[in-house]
């Protein structure tokens, strides 16, 4: 920009000639320049002020528009509901393998009191006791009239109870929403499902947490909001489970047993289709654990998983199968069965002091259940290989099944694995394992010889585990067990059309101090069916059964566990989708 000089020489000279003061020209120019500056500043300020005014106008309009938008949207959720989900995202359902509900949630209300808001505490206490007879009126009056500001009265109310409390009309009695766990099938699969309790509690919500069974084992999964309520699919089949439980309950009553357990497992995948333990309980109203006495007598005790018993002669087939796998014997090798077998200071006798003669084939050792014969086979195998085989079958470790109770149920094994332990273990004495262990071992040996892992979760695809015995050995072992049913100790186990193969086991119960009871036994029948194409493994165990229909009480597995197992198979096989094999003779006759 060109600046006009404050004292332009031409005008100064002119002024001097006229005798005027040349400074006036300078002042005049300064004034003009100043005015010019102010004009420019003003016009600039005018523009910028206009911009500012526009900006503020727009800003206010935006705020107002946003306010209008928000006012136009419906409130997304009532506030009470949003604060409910702060503690718990809804717990996922548990369903069986067909998607039928085993455990779900129910919205109820809890009842609490705020005594400072109460109008008539005495009347409120009186009426409450009328609705809930288990409450103590004096106690309530003391709480309501004392210094307490808040107290819980009931954790869960039915709608009828809520209405009754509502009708009291007491402003100090308030309801908080509660989500509770509901097991619609009652006692069914109680030990598998476990139970629940409340964790953190507030007026608006309470945490539902699993306390036992799969509820606890999968607590994180069930509560994980990321799973978006995807149900937990168990391998259990509701109808089969119901049939097993009913038959087992009837069998337990008929055989005068104090407890019973059953495991029905898919022989190839290890999925547990049904698992029952009696006596049982209702998970909707879980009993408190025993504070004294033997926990094994509590209905909460899961005999199928937690109960470790000496399972008796059912182990013999494992010994025979291993001997055949090692090619030490075949099914027809003659074994010395001279009873009693004297080994050091021990005498090995047969059941009931039988003597099966000098020699029996391996087949007959199993069919007749000879302790001496099995002991001789075990000595051929030797303790090292026996232990390796049992480890391979998972008999030395807790079962990996998905229950919180499972890791605690470690088989009881003698500390020193001496030669005599090898001998006794071969026919199932001296070490204890759970029925689930036995079912897993049977499935592994008899399904064609591949290891299975027991599981309570529905499996999508079956991948065969590592091989424990060869295909032929597995077939021969099944054949032996089939003959146990047709002509051996388990003739009551025959179910027409389903080719049941199995092995009995009767073990005297150990006394707590040492030694064995004479009259108290654990009887077990471990079976696989159908024998020609093994699909399922069933283990039935009865605790202290006695069959009293004959002239003298009978306690062997053949008289107690086997008929119960046969009934279970008869009832469940059709439910499992197995077709009975029509025998050729049946058509004619």
């Amino acid at each position: 920009m060109t600046r006009t000089p404050l004292r332009p020489l031409a005008r100064i000279l002119e002024a001097r000639q006229k005798g005027e003061n040349p400074d006036a020209i300078e002042r005049e120019n300064i004034r003009l320049r100043h005015e010019d500056m102010r004009d420019r500043a003003r016009s600039r300020a005018e523009g910028r002020l206009l911009v500012l005014a526009l900006f503020f106008f727009c800003a206010f309009a935006v705020v107002g528009g946003r306010m209008g938008l928000m006012a136009a949207t419906e409130p997304a959720e009532p506030r009470a509901a949003t604060s409910t989900s702060r503690i718990v995202a809804q717990r996922a359902d548990i369903v069986d393998r067909q998607g039928r509900i085993l455990a779900t949630n129910l919205r109820t209300h809890s009842l609490y009191a705020q005594p400072p808001h109460m109008v008539d505490p005495e009347r409120a206490a009186r009426e409450l006791v009328g609705i809930f007879p288990d409450l103590d009126e004096n106690r309530l009056i003391k709480d309501f009239t004392g210094s307490r500001k808040f107290l819980w009265i009931k954790k869960k109310l039915s709608p009828e109870q809520q209405q009754l409390v509502h009708d009291i009309g007491e402003p100090g009695l308030l309801f908080g929403p509660r989500e509770m766990r509901l097991y619609p099938n009652g006692k069914l699969a109680a030990h598998i499902l476990g139970g629940y309790g409340f964790g953190l509690e507030s007026v608006y919500a309470a945490e539902v947490i699993g306390t036992a069974g799969v509820e606890k084992a999968f607590d994180d999964f069930l509560r994980d909001p990321a799973e978006q309520g995807r149900p937990l699919e168990l391998s259990i089949d509701l109808t089969v489970q119901a049939a097993v439980e009913r038959v087992l309950y009837g069998g337990m009553r008929l055989m005068n047993a104090k407890g019973a357990a059953a495991v029905l497992m898919d022989a190839h995948s290890g999925e547990i289709v049904a698992m029952a333990s009696l006596p049982d309980f209702d998970p909707n109203d879980r009993p408190v654990p025993l504070t004294e006495g033997d926990q094994a007598d509590s209905p909460l005790f899961n005999r199928a998983v937690q109960g470790v018993y000496e399972l008796g002669s059912t182990f013999k087939i494992l010994t025979a199968a291993q001997a055949m796998e090692l090619r030490l014997v075949n099914a027809f090798t003659e074994i010395d069965t001279n009873a009693p077998l004297v080994w050091g200071k021990y005498k090995i006798r047969e059941w009931g002091n039988h003597n099966y003669g000098p020699r029996l084939s391996v087949m007959d050792v199993v069919v007749k259940s000879s302790n001496v014969g099995t002991a001789n086979i075990a000595m051929m195998i030797g303790q090292k290989r026996q232990r390796e085989f049992f480890t391979e079958l998972g008999l030395f470790d807790p079962t990996p099944v998905e229950l919180v109770e499972a890791p605690g149920a470690k088989p009881l094994i003698p500390k020193r694995w001496s030669e005599i332990v090898t001998i006794t273990t071969s026919y199932g004495h001296g070490m204890s394992a759970s029925p689930l262990h036995l079912a897993t071992a049977y499935a592994s040996v008899l399904n064609g010889g591949t290891r299975v892992m027991p599981t309570l979760l529905k499996r999508q695809a079956v991948t065969p585990g590592e091989r424990v015995v060869s295909e032929e050995v597995s077939t021969i072992a099944r054949n032996m067990l089939r003959q146990v049913v047709t002509r051996g100790t388990a003739t009551f186990g025959e179910v027409p059309g389903y080719l049941v193969a199995g092995k009995t086991g009767t073990a005297e119960k150990p006394k707590p101090g040492g030694g064995y009871y004479n009259e108290k036994v654990i009887t077990t029948f471990a079976s696989v069916f159908p024998a020609d194409d093994p699909k399922y493994v069933l283990v039935v165990t009865l605790d202290e059964p006695v069959e009293t229909s004959g002239s003298k009480p009978r306690r062997t597995a053949g008289w107690t566990a086997v008929p119960v197992a046969a009934e279970v198979i008869r009832r469940t096989a059709p439910l499992l989708g197995l077709r009975p094999a029509i025998e050729p003779g049946a058509k004619d006759g």
Binding site: I30, R33, H34, E35, M37, R38, A41, R42, R44, A45, E46, R48, L49, L50, L52, A53, F56, F57, A59, F60, A61, V62, V63, G64, R66, M67, G68, M70, A71, A72, T73, E74, P75, A76, E77, R79, T82, S83, R86
Partner: protein, 388 residues
């Protein structure tokens, strides 16, 4: 002749004060302010009983106090608006120095009322927040300096005013009270803008704000949490903002009804920072739109009047006052509708608070004084233009 001799009829040298004031003052703006104050009392009736019951006073204790301070504030506003701009400037500068001294002495004599920031002097029956009074004072001083800088051979007023503002911002940040600090800085910024800030500098400042914001976001957890909370689309319903959002949606267009609202029971700041949520819940969008309209009229109308103003000091000071007033309202309401990140800021004349009311009254009185109609020398303009 008789009158000249006996002096029976004294001649006044101009128009009487009140008629002149009534003739020249911006009556629309003044009505808006009075309406805002009325809305504040109305909302105080709704919003403050929970606070009163919490503090053990009778239900309308805070409404009475608000009315009392409001009376003082309106008196101060009317008195200030009658002053000449020159007197306003003189008193403003004096007031600035007093308020600044009070601010500087806060760490020694102030009290924090257990809120973690030392911002108040406790006077027993009431408390005084010097920063509220400092704001209009600082605007006057800055405008004076900037206007002086536009004279030939004037002082470097922009630099001086910037230095003073920085010192004040530093003291405010020490309290800490970042909300007021930002407001003060913003007020100086708009005045500088109107006074002719070079565009390159404006762009550089915008860039600097962005860099500083990023730096603060990465290094201050408190700051980052606020920004994150602002940027997430869903709002946690248990926070203050969540309650405010719920209240606005609950209210809809016509509100849930007088006294029927519930948000005032959940929000600790229902009578100050979130009073707009109470308004929205109980009276609906209608009242909110009315409040916004009032604030917009005051701000935009004042600025449009200031466009015609020729005196650089009046123009700058008026701009600063109007913008501070407007931006405070925008921030307060913008937070409630989640347009802006959470920042505690009172709604002028509506929120409860003695200091902010009285200081707001004084500031508004100054603005009214500056926006009064006065001769702008148009005739002289025409004459000199013609002469050139």
């Amino acid at each position: 002749m008789t009158e000249m001799v006996f002096g029976a009829h004294p001649v006044r040298d101009g128009e009487p004060i009140l008629p002149r004031w009534w003739r020249t003052v911006d009556k629309w703006t003044m009505s808006c302010v009075l309406l805002l104050f009325g809305v504040g009392i109305l909302l105080g009736l709704a919003a403050s009983p929970p606070l009163a019951s919490r503090n053990g006073f009778e239900a309308f204790h805070y409404v009475q106090r608000q009315a009392f301070f409001g009376g003082l504030a309106l008196t101060a506003m009317l008195l200030t608006s009658m002053m000449s701009p020159q007197l306003v400037r003189r008193l403003g500068v004096l007031g600035f120095f007093c308020a600044f001294a009070a601010l500087a002495l806060l760490p020694v004599f102030g009290t924090d009322f257990g809120k973690g920031a030392t911002r108040w002097y406790s006077l027993g029956f009431a408390s005084v927040q010097p920063s509220e009074f400092l704001k209009p004072g600082l605007i006057i001083v800055s405008a004076w300096l900037m206007a002086a800088a536009q004279e030939i051979n004037g002082p470097p007023g922009r630099t001086f005013s910037f230095a003073i503002t920085c010192v004040v911002v530093g003291f405010l940040a020490l309290q800490p009270d970042f909300g007021q600090a930002c407001l003060v800085l913003f007020g100086w910024g708009v005045m500088y803008f109107v006074a002719g800030a070079p565009f390159t500098l404006l762009i550089a400042m915008a860039a600097f704000v962005m860099v500083a914001g990023t730096f603060a976001y990465n290094n201050s957890e408190h700051f980052a949490r606020r920004i994150d909370g602002f940027l997430t689309p869903e709002v946690d319903p248990t926070t203050q903002l969540g309650y405010a959002t719920g209240a606005i949606q609950e209210g809809g267009f016509f509100g849930v009804g007088v006294g029927e609202g519930s948000v005032k029971w959940s929000l600790p700041d229902a009578h100050t920072d979130f009073i707009i949520a109470v308004a929205a819940e109980e009276y609906g969008l209608i009242l909110v739109a009315f409040i916004i309209l009032l604030f917009m009229s005051v701000t935009v109308r004042s600025m449009l009047r200031l466009i015609r103003e020729r005196d650089p000091f009046i123009r700058l000071a008026g701009t600063g006052l109007a913008c501070t007033f407007g931006v405070q309202a925008i921030i307060n309401m913008g937070v409630a509708v989640r347009l802006l990140p959470a920042k505690g800021m009172t709604l002028p004349f509506v929120s409860y608070g003695g200091s902010s009311l009285i200081a707001g009254g004084i500031a508004m009185g100054m603005l009214l004084a500056f926006t009064r109609a006065r001769p702008q020398g148009e005739i002289g303009d025409i004459l000199t233009r013609r002469g050139r």
